[in-house]
Every structure is written in C-alpha cells, then in structure tokens.
Symmetry: C2
Subunit: 320 residues, 2 copies
Amino acid sequence: MLITDLLIRAIEEKSCPIVVGLDPVLERIPDSIKQTAENKYGNTLQAAAESLYQFNFNLLNTLHSVIPAVKLQIACYEMYGQWGMNAFQQTLELAKSLNLIVINDSKRSDIGSTAIFYANGHLGKVPLIKGEDTRLKADFLTINPLLGSDSLNPFIQECQRSNKGLFILARTSNASAAEYQEAIIDGQPLYKKIAADIQKLACDQMGERGYSSIGAVVGATWPREIEQLREIMPDVFFLMPGYGAQGASADQLTTGFDQKGLGALVNSSRGVIFAYQSPEFQEKFPNPMEYAGAALEAVLMMRDDLLRSLRQAGKLPDNW
Amino acid sequence: MLITDLLIRAIEEKSCPIVVGLDPVLERIPDSIKQTAENKYGNTLQAAAESLYQFNFNLLNTLHSVIPAVKLQIACYEMYGQWGMNAFQQTLELAKSLNLIVINDSKRSDIGSTAIFYANGHLGKVPLIKGEDTRLKADFLTINPLLGSDSLNPFIQECQRSNKGLFILARTSNASAAEYQEAIIDGQPLYKKIAADIQKLACDQMGERGYSSIGAVVGATWPREIEQLREIMPDVFFLMPGYGAQGASADQLTTGFDQKGLGALVNSSRGVIFAYQSPEFQEKFPNPMEYAGAALEAVLMMRDDLLRSLRQAGKLPDNW
C-alpha cells in the first residue's frame, strides 16, 4: 500500500487530520527531566539531547492513540550534533514502534548529485562498507524546491524505490513567504508554478485513495492561497503548518480539505507540546511533569476545533 | 578582524582562491582505509563514518599548506546519522586546528523560529542544561533564501554575534537552476532580486578589505550571470561551485573576481579529492593510498589554471 494510503488510513482510524510537531526546546522542558539527564551525563550536549528524547518519550506514549502522525523538526535535534541526531533517531524509532506515520521536517535541498545523499540518508538506504544499512527512516520528508527539477528528482526516485513520500514547499507559513514566492513565472506567481509542477510529479505516484505520495507544504496562514493551491493540486496531500502558535484558525484552512475531510494534515508543534506552559492549561496541569496530559488535552481541543470547522464546511465524514 | 578579512588574508597568504570540498563518498574511498575501519567497528555506520574521517584526515594534512579553506558538504556526513555527524565535527575541528577557514555547506532554510536553531547549531552556541556549549563551529554557512527575509535574519544576527559569515544561494550551479530562479520580480529575475537583497544585507557587515561577511553562492557554470551578479553585489564575496566535475572552466569565472584577484572562492570537490581515480593521475599515483598526493597535484593544477585565467583578465596580484 502506498505510504499516502497508509497515512489516510491512520487519519481515518483516529478521525484526526492532525500531525503533532515534536520540536523540543531545552529551555521549555520540565526541570525534572533535565535533572535526570544531567545526573546521568553531566552538563553536556549528550544530557541536553537525552532530555529532548525523554520529553518526546512521554509525549509519544500519551499521544499515539489519538494522532495519526508526528513531524520531527530536525533543526531542534541537529543543533545538538551527534547526540541530537541520536535523539532524533530514537524518537523516530519510538514513533514507528507506536504505529505513527513520521514526517522528517528537514527542508533539504541541493544539486542532484548531493540530493542523492539526502534522499538515501533520510528516506532510503545508505551504503556501508559491505551492503547497505537497515536503520528505520521517516515515512515522509519535507524538501525545498528552489534549485529546480534536477534537485527534486533524486527524492522522487527514492520515494518510488522505498515507498516513501515528500512534502515539497509550495507556500510556506511565515510572514515573508511572499517576498520571493510571489515572483512571476509563466504569468503566475512562483508558488503556483511550483504547485503546478508538484501536481505533475504527483500524477505518477498515485495511491488508491486519490492522493499521491508527492505532497506539498501549504502554510495554514494563507487562506486565499490554500483555496487556489487546492485547485491547482487536486491530487496532492497538503501538510499545513501555521495553526495555533503561528496564528492560523481552523476556519481558514478547511479549503485545503476535500469533501470527505481528507487531503490535508494540519500541524501544531509548540501549541501542543508546550501546552503545559500556557495559562489556558496551567490550572488543570500545575505540575510540569503533567506536560503530556496537557498536550493530549490540547490535541483533543484542536481536533474539536478542526472537526467543527470541517462540519461547518460540509466536509466532515459521518463516522468521525 | 571580520571573518571575511581572515578569509582574504588566508587566500593572499597562499596565493590561492580555492576551496576544496571535503565531500567523501564511501564507495570512492581506498579499500585499505575502509578495511581498517571495518576491523575496528565491524560493517557498521560507525565504520563507514570513520572511513570518511580518515579519508579527510590525510587530505587535510596534505592540502592545508596550499589552500585557504575547505567546504564540508554536510549531506555526505548526515547520511550516516550520529556517526556521520561525529565525522563531520572531527573533520571541522581538524581543519580549524590546521588554520583553515571552514565552510559548512548545509543550505539550511526554515521559518524564523526554526532558523534560530540552525543558526545556533551551526554558527553560534546552543543552550545546555546550564549555560552554553563551546564546540567549534564552521566559519561560514550556506543557506537557502526561498522563505524570505524573516528566515534569513536569525542567521545574519548570529553572524554579527559570533563573527561568522554566510553564503546565501543567489544562483546555483545546477542545470535546472533557471527553472525557478528566473521567475520575474520587480522587473528582474528572482536570482537578481535575491542578489540585490544580499547586497543590502552585506552593507551592514563590511570588513576592512571591502567585502562583507554576508556572501553569495554563484554557480561557476553560468558565465553571463556571474558578470551581472558581480555588478549587483560589489561588496559580496562569491562562493563559486561548478568548476571541474560540473564543467565550468577558469576563463568563464574570472568576472567573479575584482581587479585585485579577490572577491571569489572557487570550489572543487570531486575533481580534487577523487583525482586519484581519474585517468589523468592514475599513472603517477597508481596506489590508491596516494590519493592525497593526487589531490595535492590536482589542486596545484587548478590553481595554475585559475591564476592563468586571472592573469589573462588582468586581475592577478603581482606577488601571487
């Protein structure tokens, strides 16, 4: 089964089109987790990275039954060097063992001969001295299209080879997105041209449920653009960041979904994993070590919010 | 002294505007290096990563006296996970101990709140449980500008804080570069708009020698564009990939240099580090373990080639 069909099945099983961003930030992790790591490894990069993993461990064990997928922002791990990359891999493997779909949010990009290394390293297999490695990899990878088709092809090919998927940046969620993404090409803004190219690529790798393994990142912060991009990319699954901490509301993004409530996965990171620090949750979860419980409540509230908006838009499946 | 002034001093001391790309590829590393690593660590990712480092070790010890800088393509290391990132850090630290300028070629890009993590991790300091880490970082980082100014700012600020530099992708060296980079904005192609924005950013961080710590990646494979970009970015140092394996000739890229033979650093990776495998060098260096000697000869030939072209262009300093 194509990876995107597995994603859709997971969304339907949990009636929840949400991906939680595991983007741990050391300063915001409860002290007792850090204290335990420091007792074990001293005040080191390794202790910092261990804190990230332990923080994720409780989140994953609490959230896995209600969400279909997690997204790992690799920057949060990579900053801690080899130890951070170990925490990244541990988190990825734990998430896979809990049957979650895993998105590696790396936004990688390079010329073709280098893109192969990123594709092998993050989606496929890497050469060992003899044979190839068998580490678990993520199911989906985000990539940046600025370098054009020859930089995308190695990722596309790796997806075909290894049954993996991509989310290619079409329209990012940040305030400056328009600066370069609205340059004009073939009479249309660049982000629409990129979207049209993604749609073309998507057609070659379609799943049984009407969506391709080649997806797109479409910022939830741009309501008008979401609607336009859905028209340009009917076969493309959307990864939509920007809900919550970045300011997008559920009503703004329902146009990213199809009539069956599918076709999009809405991401929230800080708003969920650090819910325990927000005034909204602190009364009910006064102990920082209840952060996973607060995150669960935040996810369920987000789900209610999204489902309410989908219902209003006439897009909510009957059995959700 | 601004990092770019240190780069210029290193180029002048060695009369060599060349950066060698340490982009090791396991399949192309001599067997005896891999055998030693396998004896030590088995057929593992760690053994693969150790092979990359040992390959670099000989290259650095042979080349450091003739080149001012090395560029590490992080994809070659990252694919080997935590062990690869350890090899990356070991290589970086060895290069710094040999007084080389180090460019971390990561082409990172993300929204501002995430870009901070990349900037801290690759140029600045990262938070530990108490205080900050003191690992050595690279001197320069390559970044991708697609997300616009709010994605670039954290890197710019980190450069000011830590006396580091950037090379922002203006025009990449690959064949598909034009696909999106020639979209039109403000009446000009996107890559020129990005170049104009880089020039503006550069003005705020100028060194004593007339160049900024905010540099640009300008593919050596695009002769006409190099000339135009030099006009748009008079204060910006160019990192020019594409010489050799990617097909650019020395004559094509002299317009990237100023009248004093400065302002550009020409990169060669595969053409240098794997010279021992090319027919041109195999007769003189029949033993694969002479790869560093072959690389040295390849660098000196490349230097002769560049200096000859700079002389013809009337740009060669008298004392080089």
